[in-house]
């Protein structure tokens, strides 16, 4: 928010009653929005740390009651969590690197005004944003080339997204043409121009795209579900789904006897612990990269 923008707002006291009421409503709405957003996270963390008995008596509503790390220990001791964490780490790391390399390889030629295939290739990529063969043929192709139950399936079918290429292309188009001309006069070929001029000068955009790609890789659940049936290859999101959603024997336990209810309570605590462990990496990163995020959405608004 720029300072000049706010200059039209005087101090609160000097305002008319109507304005005061209006601003009051604005503040209430914003604070309400913040509370609504935060509450689920706070509640999950509180349950994860609270005393199991307090949780089962329904005493936890906002802040933790007591302290009980048993559920954390139980989850941490479970090997499958670490296996899936490791898998997701590698899928995210290598996936994002490959995404960025391929995006550069696609965006740079498309950003060269003279490139004789520019229009055709542009359409070739853009068309995939609007029409797709759908799930079944894609499934046939991916399994047909032998990627089923291969860790590569988490990386190769999503090497590059046409939309992100368009964003990067705009960024590279905005680099001054003279720089490339100079480079050419010095005898640089296009690979050199890409690595020495285009990539360094579009670093902010690359950071944004890298972030988007990384979040998408980290959160990807569907690819794993379709193509990875071996548990030792599955990503974190699939592990989470098993714990959080499928293994809900809720209804049975609800009808069951008290010691089952106690078991249900510890399952619930375990679930909340899993949510905490899975979201912490993302929630830690987000505030730091916020300015890039905002920038990134603006990039998307630029005509592709």
């Amino acid at each position: 928010m720029s300072k000049t923008k706010m200059s039209h707002l005087g101090t609160f006291r000097s305002r008319s009653t109507g304005d005061k009421v209006f601003l009051l409503i604005v503040y209430i709405l914003v604070i309400f929005a913040v509370c609504i957003t935060l509450y689920p996270f706070v509640y999950v963390v509180s349950v994860a740390f609270s005393d199991a008995k307090a949780v089962s008596r329904g005493e936890v509503f906002l802040l933790p009651v007591g302290l009980d790390l048993e559920a954390f220990q139980m989850v941490m001791q479970y090997d499958q969590l670490w296996v899936s964490y490791r898998n997701t780490f590698f899928y995210t790391l290598f996936g994002t690197i490959c995404n960025l390399i391929f995006s550069c390889l696609a965006a740079y030629p498309l950003s060269r005004h003279h490139f004789f295939m520019r229009k055709k290739l542009n359409f070739f990529l853009a068309f995939t944003m609007y029409f797709s063969g759908g799930l079944i043929p894609a499934y046939m192709v991916v399994t047909g080339i032998g990627l089923y139950n291969s860790p590569l399936v988490m990386i190769i079918p999503h090497l590059v997204s046409a939309y992100n290429v368009m964003i990067l292309r705009s960024a590279m188009e905005s680099i001054s043409e003279e720089l490339f001309e100079c480079g050419k006069l010095e005898g640089a070929n296009d690979f050199t121009l890409l690595t020495k001029i285009a990539i360094p000068l579009s670093k902010p955009t690359l950071a944004v795209l890298g972030l988007y790609y990384a979040v998408a890789r980290y959160n990807d659940f569907f690819t794993g579900m379709l193509y990875l049936s071996k548990q030792e290859l599955q990503p974190l999101q699939m592990f989470l789904r098993r714990i959080l959603i499928i293994a809900s024997t809720e209804i049975l336990q609800n009808a069951g006897i008290t010691d089952r209810a106690a078991a249900a309570q510890s399952t619930m605590k375990i679930r909340y612990v899993c949510i905490v462990l899975a979201t912490v990496p993302i929630l830690c990163i987000c505030p730091f990269v916020q300015k890039y995020l905002v920038k990134g959405t603006m990039l998307g608004a630029v005509k592709g």
Binding site: H8, Y27, V30, V34, F116, I136, M140, V141, R271
Partner: protein, 333 residues
């Protein structure tokens, strides 16, 4: 008379024809093409891996849509998609005659429709509010916090929802019981599916979706506000008569784009949220394709249903794009 002409960014020597336009002889055209190739060949080399990727993972599946008109026979690798027996429109007829067709189209449409009605105004209202906040700390903080849910995975969002709403131990039902109500099994009640889908979707994306409106509002010249305030307008009037009209193009563009996506519903979320008890309101085209194709291996039938979805989706996006081009002169492609 010889002259220098520039074609495709290459300067070559040639004769000028009538009206001063260059007419290239066969030989000169060849020379031009070679020069262009020599200049651009590295760009082509660079694109080759990208082209191969798009051919295999985007265009090959599109070609594979022929299986929608065939009776699929498993072959070696993906060759199977091209070797089936031709059956024409059999699968499409079967789909439209089945009881599912109407239910799936209705559910897909309604989930999007309600998400739009409920979810579209919230980011706009939030953006207007947040730009009125003078306290910088509160403003920035509120923005950072409300963006957060957008980056949480669908699995976690649905997981939180399932557990909060659980009839035995969920916090919502604990509250209901505290006030003397009967616990509700939200996740397996048909009537609750749509509200839950829409509300959770809105919770997850309203902050992030407001970014673009915040930027549009920030782009309005402060002088205009100054002028209105000097003329005695109060805040409500500046919002109504200045802010809203100024961000109208952005609103219209985004609205048209979401109308174009009316038949694309996020598969993951429905898939993670639904169960057999709520198929009546929850089952959408993409989840049906998944069940028919991957789970029951009716590949050709599922491909046909998927093709129907892709074609209608493509038509909607094309119309939306044409309309937005007319209205805003800013097209998506």
């Amino acid at each position: 008379m010889n002259d220098l002409v520039t074609q495709k960014g290459i300067v070559i020597m040639t004769k000028k024809g009538k009206n001063g336009h260059a007419v290239l002889s066969k030989d000169e055209k060849k020379r031009l093409r070679r020069k262009v190739w020599n200049r651009d060949k590295y760009l082509v080399y660079m694109m080759i891996p990208v082209i191969i990727y798009f051919l295999i993972f985007n265009y090959l599946p599109m070609g594979g849509l022929v299986m929608a008109f065939q009776k699929f026979k498993p072959g070696k690798g993906f060759v199977g998609i091209f070797t089936g027996e031709w059956v024409g429109l059999k699968w499409f007829r079967r789909f439209f005659k089945s009881a599912y067709a109407w239910r799936l189209i209705r559910n897909t449409f309604l989930l999007n429709f309600y998400s739009l009605i409920f979810g579209f105004p919230i980011p706009i209202i939030f953006a207007i509010c947040i730009t009125q906040i003078k306290n910088k700390f509160l403003q920035k903080g509120a923005q950072v916090i409300t963006y957060l849910p957008y980056f949480i995975s669908t699995v976690v969002v649905v997981g939180m929802m399932t557990n909060f709403l659980s009839p035995s131990s969920g916090i919502i039902n604990q509250l209901i019981q505290k006030f003397g109500g009967e616990p509700i099994n939200f996740m397996s009640e048909q009537d609750w599916f749509r509200p839950l889908y829409v509300i959770s979707g809105s919770w997850q994306s309203f902050g992030f979706n407001s970014i673009i409106f915040v930027a549009a509002i920030m782009g309005i010249s402060p002088d205009l506000y100054e002028a209105m305030t000097v003329d005695g307008a109060n805040i409500r009037q500046t919002v109504w008569h200045l802010t809203l009209p100024m961000i109208r193009p952005t609103i219209v563009l985004l609205l048209i784009m979401s109308l174009g996506n009316m038949l694309n519903v996020g598969f993951e979320k429905v898939f993670l949220m639904y169960n057999e008890a709520v198929y009546e309101t929850a089952d959408v085209i993409s989840t049906y394709v998944y069940r028919q194709g991957i789970a029951s291996t009716n590949y050709s039938y599922a491909a046909a249903v998927g093709l129907f979805n892709s074609v209608v989706g493509f038509a909607l996006v094309s119309i939306a794009n044409r309309v937005s081009r007319k209205l805003n002169e800013t097209a998506i492609w």
